[in-house]
Subunit: 511 residues, 2 copies
């Protein structure tokens, strides 16, 4: 992480050959100035931690199909009984002391490297939808072209700091080859940091190997350049596919993101406190496993809470209970001194409408308030995580822009206090033309490119558009003006050669 | 405010003759369990307070056309020079020590009386739009029928605690008679607490006099039953119409809400810290004036911050800078130990679309996070405060429902920690049918009546509705099922007689 770290044998000094003023022009990530929103007192936090400890000691957790993970835990002193693992209170917290509190994920353009932990905030696109949507064509299965499009849109967007991972499933590519095309697309069409595959240990290793070709093997061994987002098979079950992928990332000194997946009332208790305790227990196990695999490897404490409809049992998103529960999860992660991942803009709406944005803003604000450092799903989701919407992507991304201002808080200094302006403008007068306004107006307020703030009459004459219609124009314009960031030709060729050889060695699998 | 206070000569014991289980069924108000979100440290708060003090001492504030207010301030020790008033630092804070930290606003149905101050939160409809909108008829001037409709919708809504004030302008009624029809409509069509007129001293006094007929003069002299929302003519100018109305409320021991109206860059500095300092100065003067008029009268510290478009100079709402600025205003109000009013769901969108809900949720969450006790404009606004939308009203009201759960925080006890459930469900098992889920599921999650959480296919077959279309059905259904709360016939007649006599004494004014 040092500024003088060598990269592919050359000294980069932390700065890049590329023009740092090239598009996109946003900051590499946000330094949150406002404090986190800590809603729970010490006594209740201790009760939740004690419940997690009791779950781990009395019930334990199953690890299925990963004998090496079981052996690692046994060696560390856990009680292993078949695939069931139980832990003495405090054991995992002790193991986790080697995990870094904060780390840099390097991008191939160093100006876009992101800091993960502390008070940094990184916005990353939504992840994992099989479907895509737009206003023109409705819902359909995602393709590699859609995948590349979302990478291009994220690259162009000044408010998204990260290229993401499976921004949508490219369902026109065989399942066993998708990871190669996906990781390559992140490398080729963006210069922001990205995520790799976790759907098998081999695919995780391929993703990391491709990163070695891009960044150099030595650099990758000493620095984080790729994240892998691994889910617990909640409740209290870790599937071997996931533990092996998580260990592959840790082994390579890359960051696994450890995420329980609890729909309250289905994969965990319907009550928030219990769901949080369970999530904490599951995350502790996953994070500790990375440290047993390679002490000091970066790892991210992940949060995913959800609710369900009382009438249908359907999962619901962007609802108040997960939003407030996330604040507590944030407190628990900070007490462990681990970087935190939260989910951003969740909704069950099937359109980029009022419901979509109501739920998404509720969910996204809870993520930033709870102190999340890496916010996955910051832009694009509709349809209960099943669809990636082009319009919603632009609307969410615009809201990410608004959050840049919001997280900067209220600056208090002689200029912002404006005493001189009060002395020069008479009571009842006007500040529009005042020197203070002229000196500050361009930086004072976030300028949305989706919101329509014009008077009713102007809006009416201009075609009565809604936000979704304006967003439809925005994504088309953004794709039309996309210019790929330069990529060293030899490096590009070496990665493409790797992909071609890998693909040639495989038989297509479609499920 | 005592439980045994007599009301219209009868002992009510704080409970009502009406069936407390009658519709609506929501709580009278919210007791916020989560803490406020305090984003600013002591040093910066002191700087803002010091700037407000300097504004008041060095620049001062004009009070136009109200010699009595000037005399009150002069008598209290302020420096009065023509209509300019200047205050020594600390002077107004000292005057404000007689203001109650918390008070009850009584509703005619005591089960719906609201507490204002402390950790109570009261949601009240939007206020002041000349236009109304719905999906069927578009935008048009509001009428008395619209006004009555919004009162009925607020009455039926379990999540709105208050009937509001000028829920829309009934433009088919002469300007000088509107207040009579508006206050009567609140009394007749709802039994929730309400607001009165402030557009002239006489109209304020008429509103209070009608309340005396409803509650009894003795009761009104000793208890708050009506609020008047008075605006500063920012920057640093109090118009006599407003100060006289505010004093009329205070004189009758009723609560004035003192609200600066600062569009940053127009009526105050474009920088948040300066706008907040100015607002604080203006509010201090207005609140202190009520205490000079009648020490101990209830008064509410009001907050209204806004931003503007850099491109057009148009006001913008629901943007990040006012949202984060409101947190600081909340801290300042609490340091003065005054109840706080904030604005709720603001937006410049002309449709109940994604922009509308994105901006509204941002704004509404800032109001609840900053600790506002009385949240005006909780439901209905579109079009930059100019239009009251029937659909948006239902969507916002539904979000108010979500906030009931959110403000309750995360309950930590043996039941919610669910240790028994963990011991009975095997790892990898399912909680849907578990005893713990069955015992808790009906109260676990807020159940929206606008959101569509069904799978895509079901939504597609059911007509692909958006949230606004569903809200359109909801308001029509709510009006169709409306039943007026009972009102004592003699009381009703006395109020109608007052209105008729007042109207007969006036010549219609239309502007």
């Amino acid at each position: 992480m040092s500024e003088t770290e060598t990269k592919r044998g050359r000294r980069t000094g932390g700065r890049e050959r590329r023009d740092p003023n090239a598009k996109p022009t946003g900051p590499a990530y946000i330094k949150r100035v406002i404090p986190t929103y800590d809603i729970m007192g010490e006594e209740s936090l201790l009760k939740i931690e004690a419940t997690a400890d009791r779950i781990l000691a009395e019930v334990g957790l199953d690890i299925r199909d990963d004998d090496e993970a079981l052996a690692l835990f046994k060696k560390s002193g856990a009680k292993v009984d078949g695939m069931r693992v139980r832990f003495e209170p405090g054991h995992l917290q002790e193991v986790l002391k080697t995990a870094p509190q904060e780390f840099t994920q390097h991008a191939r353009n160093p100006a876009r490297s992101v800091q993960i932990g502390g008070n940094s905030v990184v916005f990353s696109p939504a992840y994992g939808s099989p479907f895509v949507m737009d206003l023109d064509r409705g819902r359909r299965y995602g393709t590699l072209e859609d995948f590349q499009n979302f990478i291009k849109l994220a690259y162009n967007c000044p408010w998204l700091h990260h290229s993401g991972g499976t921004v949508c499933e490219p369902t026109d590519v065989p399942v066993n080859k998708r990871h190669l095309d996906m990781v390559y697309a992140h490398m080729r069409y963006s210069d922001k940091a990205y995520m790799g595959s976790i759907t098998s240990e081999q695919r995780a290793e391929d993703s990391i190997e491709m990163s070695r070709l891009l960044f150099g093997a030595d650099f990758v061994d000493r620095n984080c350049v790729i994240l892998g987002n691994v889910n617990v098979n909640s409740p209290l079950l870790w599937d071997g596919t996931m533990t092996k992928s998580a260990r592959a990332y840790a082994r390579a000194n890359q960051a696994a993101v450890i995420v329980p997946f609890i729909l309250g009332g289905a994969m965990g208790p319907v009550t928030n406190a219990g769901a949080i305790a369970q999530a904490h227990a599951e995350t502790l196990v996953g994070c500790a496993m990375t440290q047993l695999e390679r002490p000091g490897a970066p790892v991210i404490y992940g949060n995913f809470l959800s609710s369900m409809s009382l009438r249908s049992g359907s999962p619901t998103f962007g609802t108040p209970e997960p939003a407030i529960g996330s604040m507590v999860v944030g407190q628990l992660a900070r007490r462990l001194k681990l970087p935190l991942r939260c989910a951003g803009s969740f909704t069950t709406s099937k359109l980029p409408d009022g419901q979509a944005m109501q739920e998404s803003v509720m969910s996204m604000l809870s993520a930033v308030h709870c102190g999340a450092n890496f916010i996955l799903h910051s832009a694009g989701f509709l349809d209960g995580l099943l669809s990636m919407s082009y319009e919603k992507f632009m609307m969410d991304a615009d809201f990410c822009g608004a959050l840049h201002s919001y997280l900067g808080g209220v600056v208090v200094d002689d200029n912002t206090l404006a005493m001189g302006a009060f002395q020069s403008v008479t009571p009842g007068g006007h500040y529009l033309g005042s020197d203070h306004t002229m000196a500050n107006y361009t930086t004072a307020f976030f300028d949305s490119n989706i919101a329509d703030n014009t008077p009713f009459e102007a809006w009416n004459e201009a075609g009565k558009t809604d936000a979704a219609t304006r967003a439809n124009k925005r994504w088309k314009a953004s794709l039309a003006e996309y210019v790929a960031p330069p990529l060293d030709e030899a490096v590009d060729e070496s990665i493409r050669d790797f992909v071609a050889r890998k693909k040639a060695s495989m038989t297509d699998q479609w499920y």
